[in-house]
């Protein structure tokens, strides 16, 4: 029997608002423990939550970008459980009545594209952070993160492979970044993912028993963990066993997952509508106002890059993966309109450089303007492609403009035919034997002569002129 995996993903995206979801405390990272707190987010007696409208606005953006139906009336609910990082003893979330439902996004995997349904999007507050003292029986809690707004996006169980899951996540991250509502940083935890995984015989309708995978904190881990989980379940079924419903924690070091059965599983969260917050009413005007602020989204941009700039689908995909890259590309085109050349340089040299230095395109030492100018210098024949590589490296180190480097280092291409002729004549005179061999049919030696000329001109001679003149002189 052939099995297929059935995967649904829950994404938790930390929203980039300045203040927390129910109080005015700052959401910024890295402050000393418990300095971004107030009586409200500490759950002090008598304190009440007041909803941050920005959180709603950001979530509406996401709902629109993922084709969801936005509910005109939704409610916050309390999810009750005891834990020291949860100061009120409940988390304010949404349960029965989420803000948005019934959406979808389209993803591309290899040579096919598919639609993944979005079950729901809701808002909730983050919990604090516990750290355990290894030396003493003591735990410390930092409430700075308590009340930082989260948006949870739950997919339909439409995903059928780890690759699809990876692409779904990349697409989601790309969307939240385009919208400017979330950093999308999995390693730092501003973009987290849990997966529900089951397997079923191909051709059957019914879902198998699912396991929930947690702690998938990088794209790499998501795909690895899913492969592992699918194989684990197949093994169980092949050996006549039954998959049990459980939560499993991925261990990226051991490359395996382990069950969290027990306490974690037994939770009854006793959800009920939070009486401290009125039903959230969102009218068409609000939705329209937010819609007007939506940027061009990755999928639309990709389509436009293909039609408007004639780029291959692959290039368009890479360039639109992040808004900053897309903007960099289009900024280059303003100065240098050769779209495929720009694309090649960005995807090749620039991304190579950034990867090597662990930088984002926003941190690139080479500005879009400088890159475009470099390409223009090549096009105008001021420098050769070869020299361009040298200048590129210099630009990467010094962040200077290419024309300055060219001038300073005297790298202007020699295009003066008579000057080149002089050098060629000298090279031919110095290598009389090779000239004879060439003339006797060893035409492969042309490369040798070009090399000699280039060596004499420190690479600055225009290669086309060198070729033309060489052929002419050798032909005699």
């Amino acid at each position: 029997m052939e099995f297929e995996p059935v995967i649904g993903l829950e994404v938790h995206a930390q929203l980039k608002t300045d203040t927390k979801i129910f109080c005015n405390c700052s959401t910024s990272f890295g402050a000393p423990p418990n300095t971004h707190t107030c009586p409200v987010c500490l759950g002090m007696p008598g304190m009440l939550p007041v909803l941050n409208k920005k959180v709603v606005e950001y979530t509406i953006k996401m709902a629109l970008a993922t084709n969801c139906k936005i509910e005109h009336k939704s409610r916050f609910a309390r999810k009750n459980y005891f834990y020291p990082d949860l100061p009120k003893g409940y988390q304010i979330s949404q349960y029965e009545f989420p803000i948005a439902q019934f959406g979808y996004i389209d993803i591309e995997v290899g040579d096919y594209s598919k639609r993944v349904g979005i079950t729901r999007i809701h808002m909730e507050e983050d919990a604090g952070k516990l750290s355990h003292d290894p030396g003493r029986p003591i735990s410390l809690v930092d409430f700075n993160r308590t009340g930082v707004p989260l948006m949870e996006i739950v997919s339909e169980p439409d995903i059928r492979s780890p690759e699809e899951a990876g692409n779904y996540l990349r697409q989601m991250r790309s969307i939240v970044r385009y919208l400017g509502i979330c950093d999308g940083n999995m390693e730092e935890g501003s973009f987290r993912c849990d997966a529900n995984v089951s397997i079923r015989a191909i051709g059957t309708e019914q879902f198998g028993t699912r396991a929930e995978l947690k702690n998938l904190n990088s794209f790499k881990h998501v795909e690895k963990a899913l492969h592992y989980e699918i194989n684990r379940q197949k093994e169980i079924v092949f050996h006549g066993g039954k998959v049990v419903q459980e939560t499993r924690l991925w261990d990226p070091v051991a490359n395996s997952s382990k069950s969290m059965r027990g306490k974690e599983e037994a939770h009854d969260y006793r959800y009920f509508p939070d009486p401290d917050l009125l039903p959230l009413i969102i009218d068409e005007n609000w939705i329209d106002a937010v819609r007007k602020t939506l940027p061009e989204l990755p999928a639309e941009k990709k389509k436009r890059f293909i039609t408007e700039y004639g780029l291959p689908s692959y290039d368009a995909d890479v360039l639109t993966a992040s808004l900053a890259t897309a903007n960099y590309f289009e900024d280059c085109l303003k100065i240098f309109p050769g779209s495929k050349t720009v694309s090649n340089w960005i995807m090749g040299s620039l991304m190579g450089l950034l990867n090597a230095e662990g930088k984002t395109i926003e941190q690139s030492p080479i500005s879009s303007q400088n890159l475009a100018q470099l390409l223009r210098l090549i096009k105008e024949g001021v420098i050769s492609g070869k020299i361009a590589k040298v200048i590129f490296e210099d630009m990467a180190k010094t962040e200077r403009a290419p024309d300055k480097i060219v001038k300073e280092k005297g790298l202007v291409q020699v295009t003066d035919v008579s000057a080149i002729e002089k050098i060629i004549l000298k090279v031919l005179a110095d290598n009389a034997k090779e000239v004879d061999d060439y003339r006797n049919g060893k035409t492969k030696l042309l490369g040798f002569f070009v090399g000699q000329v280039m060596k004499n001109t420190k690479g600055k001679a225009n290669p086309k002129i060198v070729n033309d003149v060489l052929k002419e002189k050798l032909g005699k």
Binding site: P45, Y90, D268, R270, F272
Partner: protein, 486 residues
């Protein structure tokens, strides 16, 4: 006459004319507290020193001509309302040493108005109870007969007002916790419309039902305190951004054109004490005599109110009280090294039996598999009860009923029978479920000399009409002039 016997309004006039000072007045109240507190047991914390400082500041303000209706007026605050730098215990062991770093919205308002805070008064633990016997701190006695309970949960407030241990008090009302003790102690108490007064800084019992309100010596003072505490607060999402009328302008004689509704179902209730029934009937006659017109109305779902209330309130409470876990503030059993053990032990030690009972009831009602049968069903009943009132108010302006089925009961009489205790809220908790305002005014005494209260229930945000009816009734009777002998 002793200064502590003054009403807020009387004291204000004397302060304004500079015949007395706030320091004299506050000293008089503090002396009174000292002399009768051992018998009445209203105060959990007496803030004598800060009260005198506030009085001194009030006198300075008055000397400069800055006087509000509350400048220099000594008030007592239910110990469930947070006061900055002044211990707020909720009458619970778990918060016995809790000192809030903030003021409740209403306290900010009172302080801004120049009021003097004498101290924090007793209550049932976390406002859960109808007799103040469930206080984890102390027992409060009814000033009219010390062997009787003062009612609850705002029993400390009602007893303090009745015994002249303050000029007025703020309480909170979740199912009758202002009106019932006001009735039992022979003072005026009002639960405003849900959303009229900010709950910011009121320690939550049942968030969708709780409302802060005044307990005073007469209706005029009730209007004065309502003016001071009402109004929108952006810090409480359930507070309503609506203009607040000057309630004192409704202290005018005449009830021509006012329609009084008498709920048919309330008279048919079993367990209604004959003397209470008689006192309320007489009160209705008196009000008719002033010119109001009486009509019979129906509240068909009344009989389900107690059941719905005792699902909704404990459900919310079970969640609201989860924060008292020993981690951040309040009591913690430091002898436990395991987290779960620490939770269990701290909460076992910190909460009293009634609080535990309600947490368990609430936890049960919200549990998977029971939610639909209990919480959801109760919420639906709540909607029906709200609809009942809407319909009834189509034919009348206010409703009249008893506040409680009996006068105050003896200390210890009902502690073993929680159900019987719960039934003492039968006339009051519908108003909380519907979010409408309710008020208690003295309307008689039992043969044993215990006060009986008349309940006036109004439409949403129509407290002024209740104040008008109450004021006219008060002017036509002299129950409010009687004082307990201590």
């Amino acid at each position: 006459m002793n200064l502590y016997e003054l009403t807020i309004h009387e004291a204000h006039n004397l302060l304004k004319s500079r015949e007395i000072s706030s320091q004299e007045l506050t000293k008089s109240v503090l002396d009174r507290v000292e002399s009768v507190e051992p018998r009445v047991g209203s105060y959990i914390t007496v803030a004598g020193e800060t009260a005198m400082t506030q009085a001194e500041l009030a006198d300075k303000a008055i000397a400069k001509g800055n006087i509000t209706h509350l400048t220099g007026i000594p008030l007592a605050i239910k110990d469930l309302i947070c006061t900055k730098d002044l211990r707020t215990t909720c009458a619970s062991k778990i918060l016995e040493n809790f000192v809030p770093p903030y003021d409740a919205f209403v306290i900010k308002k009172l302080k801004k108005a120049g009021a003097v805070i004498v101290g924090k008064v007793n209550m049932d633990e976390f406002a859960m109870g109808s007799s103040t016997e469930h206080s984890g701190i102390k027992l409060t006695n009814n000033p009219w007969d010390l062997s009787y309970i003062p009612g609850g949960s705002s029993g400390g407030s009602a007893a303090a007002v009745a015994a002249d241990m303050c000029l007025g008090s703020l309480g909170s009302d979740t199912g009758g916790s202002i009106r019932q003790p006001a009735s039992y102690c022979g003072v005026v108490g009002m639960k405003p419309t849900y959303g009229r007064v900010s709950r910011f800084g009121l320690v939550a019992f049942a968030s969708s039902l709780d409302q802060i309100g005044p307990l005073t010596k007469n209706v005029t003072d009730c209007a004065v305190l309502m003016n001071a505490i009402s109004g929108y607060d952006a810090g409480d999402s359930t507070s309503v951004p609506m203009d607040v009328p000057d309630y004192t302008t409704f202290l005018e004689k005449g009830l021509k054109g006012v329609k009084i509704g008498i709920p048919r179902e309330y008279n048919a209730l079993s367990g209604l004490d004959a003397e209470v029934s008689e006192a309320v009937k007489n009160a209705v006659k008196t009000i008719e005599g002033i010119g109001a017109e009486c009509v019979e109305v129906s509240l068909p779902h009344s009989e389900y109110a107690v059941a719905a209330y005792y699902v909704i309130a404990p459900s919310e409470a079970s969640s609201n009280l989860a924060r008292y876990d020993g981690v951040k503030y309040g009591l913690r059993d430091k002898n436990k090294n395991d987290l779960i053990e620490m939770y269990k032990s701290t909460r076992s030690m910190g909460f009293g039996s009634e609080v535990k009972r309600r947490i368990i009831i609430g936890t049960y009602c919200l549990s998977a598999g029971y939610y639909d049968a209990y919480y959801r069903k109760a919420s639906q009943v709540r909607t029906l009860i709200t609809e009942d009132f809407k319909k009834a108010f189509k034919s009348c302006d206010v409703l009249l009923s008893p506040v409680a089925p009996t006068p105050a009961f003896k200390t210890g009489e009902r502690t073993e029978d929680p159900l019987k205790m719960y039934l003492s809220d039968i006339f009051t908790l519908s108003a909380n479920l519907a979010g409408i305002p309710g008020m208690s005014v003295p309307c008689g005494f039992s043969s044993q000399g215990l006060p009986i209260g008349l309940q006036i229930i109004g439409k949403h945000f129509n407290e002024e009409k209740m104040i008008k009816v109450a004021y006219n009734f008060e002017q036509a009777t002299d129950f409010h002039n009687k004082k307990p002998v201590l």
